[in-house]
Symmetry: C2
Subunit: 548 residues, 2 copies
């Protein structure tokens, strides 16, 4: 493929490794660990990999040349900036251990392991992908590694290729599965270590021991660039309200970080909506009131950030969707009814609360909830254009307020959804360094002979040379949760903490931002400029460190 000028220049960037990883490395064991909850159950499920110690890496004053090792690597789930650098760091790491080590990539996600689709990643291939965005070096996929037959099938190819360690780069589910796989391979004496790496732009894989998942830094910077540009346009033209939906189904970290970076007039945080048991109408009223107050100042423009998953955090909407899923599942002739009959039928068969919510929705959205269904018959929440839903309802509310004499102004909404624009951006310096170090560090964990660990770097608000490197037993992050009706050991998803500094800083400022127009314009990610422009971690990370 033809390379852009930036790609060519950027290929020369050498990620800055933590000092401890720059020479020969030795592992220092900490105390045995416990899972964050449900210790007994989890210990029972992971008899061979529970309670392992945390590992910390230090420089080894007496370097030893390691044995060559064959390693497999998998990209799992949605793309995140920096994935290629994890693989490059891993490659360099195992080559450092022994130059005869080899790296194999399984293609198009975990399915590649099961289906024996792979390619060897040699130095010439690796060099094409340094500091680039995307997962296209080996592709990614959403097959879940959960079943013993998958594990056994995968082991065949691992044995065939002489692979003794597998690195799985993924989110909370993929790392959960990595731990299950590690336990299984340990149990059967397969002789294959399994190491995880924390990936997801959503920022919801983090906890006491994992400070951040990679990709969040770059993706939020791309979205903030775009939001900033739109805000500058909005402030210049002074005639539109921009409703901007941001990726992130299960948590609002992305919306929150972008709000901290750009200071919009409104940002909705799903976790707060849920905690306050707000209705959709509450959210609409909140926005409409800000629109009206700004209009009273003569400002008929503004910006609203909306997390993609909002609908699913609104308790009343969640109930409505659950009832609709049940109702339509047992009504096979629903599609044969006319639209008017369908509406009548739905309203007549929902609980009173849900019927009221349903009746309050704009007709197009209400209809969408009964039409677009996934193969399991469920509402496809991701297809709901929440940004349009909200702006339409805000418009309706403003019309009522106008009639009541509470609003004088003009409301012209525009809509945006940003997600795919950021998932494969070339990694920021932070993500380039973080990912490369995660991969290199994974090689050190392999060399240390452990399994069921996640590659860990801490102290991330400091320059990368000062980061602390080591490994965390994945089982340490587990609790038991109900998934598809069954209790399972899983890594707890990190939601936005309403008592955490990132949210509190936002909450303290938002009333001011709503009315005073305090937009910030971050501009595009810079790779070559001064450190204060190129090397700052996210505000979320900086503020979270204040909580430590």
């Amino acid at each position: 493929m033809k390379k852009s000028a930036l790609q060519i220049a950027r290929a020369a960037y050498q990620p800055k490794l933590p000092v401890t990883l720059t020479g020969s490395v030795k592992a220092i064991e900490g105390e045995p660990t416990q899972s964050v909850a449900d210790q007994e159950e989890i210990q029972k499920l992971f008899p061979n990999t529970y309670g392992l110690p945390e590992l910390r890496f230090e420089k080894n004053p007496n370097p030893i040349v390691g044995k060559p090792v064959n390693v497999g690597v998998i990209l799992s789930g949605g793309q995140a900036p920096g994935g290629h650098n994890v693989i490059c760091g891993l490659f360099d790491g195992i080559k450092k251990i022994n130059k005869d080590s080899r790296l194999y990539g399984f293609l198009m996600g975990p399915g590649g392991l099961v289906d024996h689709d792979y390619k060897e990643l040699t130095a010439d291939i690796i060099d094409e992908y340094r500091n680039t965005g995307g997962f296209d070096i080996i592709g990614s996929g959403r097959t879940k590694l959960e079943k013993q037959e998958q594990f056994d099938k995968g082991l065949e190819i691992l044995k065939q290729l002489g692979i003794s360690a597998l690195v799985i780069i993924g989110g909370d589910d993929s790392n959960t599965n990595a731990a299950v796989l590690a336990e299984y391979y340990k149990k059967i004496g397969a002789g294959v270590q399994v190491i995880g790496c924390p990936k997801t732009i959503d920022g919801d894989l983090k906890n006491e021991v994992v400070e951040a998942s990679f990709g969040f830094d770059t993706a939020t910077k791309v979205y903030s660039e775009l939001i900033g540009n739109i805000q500058r346009d909005c402030f210049s033209a002074k005639k539109y309200w921009h409703f901007i939906k941001l990726m992130g189904r299960s948590a609002s970290h992305i919306a929150l970080e972008c709000a901290l970076q750009t200071q919009p007039n409104v940002c909705i945080i799903s976790e707060e909506v849920e905690a306050k048991n707000q209705t959709l109408q509450d959210v609409v009223d909140y926005i409409a009131n800000i629109v009206a107050k700004r209009a009273a100042q003569g400002n008929n423009f503004g910006t609203v950030l909306i997390p993609e998953g909002l609908i699913e955090f609104i308790p009343a909407m969640k109930n409505l969707i659950a009832e609709l899923n049940d109702l339509l599942a047992k009504t096979p002739d629903f599609a044969a009814k006319t639209p008017a009959e369908q509406r009548q039928f739905v309203l007549g068969n929902l609980s009173q609360n849900s019927a009221t919510v349903y009746a309050s929705l704009p007709e197009g959205v209400a209809r969408q909830l009964t039409l677009d269904r996934d193969p399991h018959g469920n509402v496809q929440v991701s297809l709901i254009e929440t940004e349009k839903l909200l702006s339409e309802m805000v418009g309706n509310r403003l019309n009522e307020m106008k009639a009541e004499g509470k609003y004088v102004g003009k409301f012209s909404p525009l809509h945006h959804f940003f997600g795919y624009e950021g998932r494969c951006a070339a990694p920021s310096n932070f993500d380039a360094d973080y990912c490369y170090a995660l991969g290199y560090n994974a090689a050190c964990l392999i060399n240390a002979g452990v399994t069921g660990y996640i590659s860990s770097l801490r102290n991330l608000t400091k320059p990368s040379v000062q980061w602390l490197a080591g490994g965390i037993p994945i089982s340490m992050m587990f609790n038991m949760e109900r998934r598809h009706g069954e209790m399972k050991p899983v890594i707890q998803k990190a939601l936005v903490r309403l008592d955490g500094t990132p949210f509190l800083r936002f909450a303290a400022k938002r009333d001011d931002w709503a009315l005073s127009t305090a937009y910030v314009f971050p501009g595009p990610i810079q790779y070559f400029g001064p450190a204060e422009v190129c090397d700052q971690p996210t505000l979320t990370l900086q503020y979270e460190h204040l909580d430590k």
Copy 2:
């Protein structure tokens, strides 16, 4: 407002002026000019400002200190990156002539002149806006300066502030009006010079004497960043077709430039569709065939770029829209009919050709064409989601092809529209330099005592220090065109030339790009890196220079 780290670092950037403008400047007159067409008529309409000579600036070996001058400035029409730098350059230019010169900005566009809304732009204000995006320093607006009463009203405030020169920063219409205003003020001996500056991200204000309008460079780089990111995602996930609509109603320069930068699988050029008299179905078939061919290779993913104005370039659609506007204007009871009656009525009252086109449209789009109407009763073409219209029709066509055994694959479309993301981005080095020089050069034109000129810099593919500075009589760019039923002198809009190198390069490559997946990932605009990354002009400009 709080400044981002990039804004602070970028404020220190010193745009690189052409060498001829760095000291004292003298104007060299060329031969008298002629308008590009309809010379007699235009000369009659511009007796006082027609036939003026082109001006070329040279270094003045015998510098003279000029008299202080009070200057007014107006931002007209849609935002474009670099507008602030035009104003900064103008400020520095008139201060260089005499430190007692003063600059006044009229607020929220040409309306500010008529309504006497202005503010003085002093050094401390100007310094806040150097190298920033947006038009928020004084705002912009779409009021057209066309009527004598507006000119007279404006003159009152100009006289009151002692302003002897007015700089209008705008697109083709605004510069046309600047020339009309210049002629009028000259005719009545108002003692006010009028100077234009070529602005528009659309890139359709350019000709033999104006090489480029400002903003096009930055905006297309922002869109190309996003398209590149989406393409990397598309190529990694290998499961979506991304339909990406790009701003630019009247010409496809933006789509073409982005295609040259990113090499998508499909890019539609409106001018070609019109020249070949293609139908909407022709466009759909073209895309569907590429989808099918890629699917046959196992590639169920791709990217399609669509210019915003496509619909209006399709002859059959243009006819349909015109007929609908007429039909509905004389059918006041249309809104009272049921949707089914409306459809019946429309189909029964259109010409046969238009009825066939109407019947071929997805029902939602057909309905939208009769529903969303502007205050004049016309279809609001800009609200048509062409990207969704096309993907839906492509999906339908693929279903037919599947039934005919001509397509085996999976078609999952996603949609994007990029416009507001790029209009107020911080200007690229090119636009920062170009805009600053345009403004500084406008000051030199004022000092030269001329009126009815547009600020001109040529040789733009060379480093900015080598640019040629001067002035072009705006009337030189005029021809007569029918506007709202009347023949008017206007600057000809520059459409994509199908015999120009930019289009020919694209046309020569597109079949390869369609099937081979030749994506390029330009990445974000860089301000601090190596020149080949930071200082390249657009490919359109580079290729157009090959035609000279």
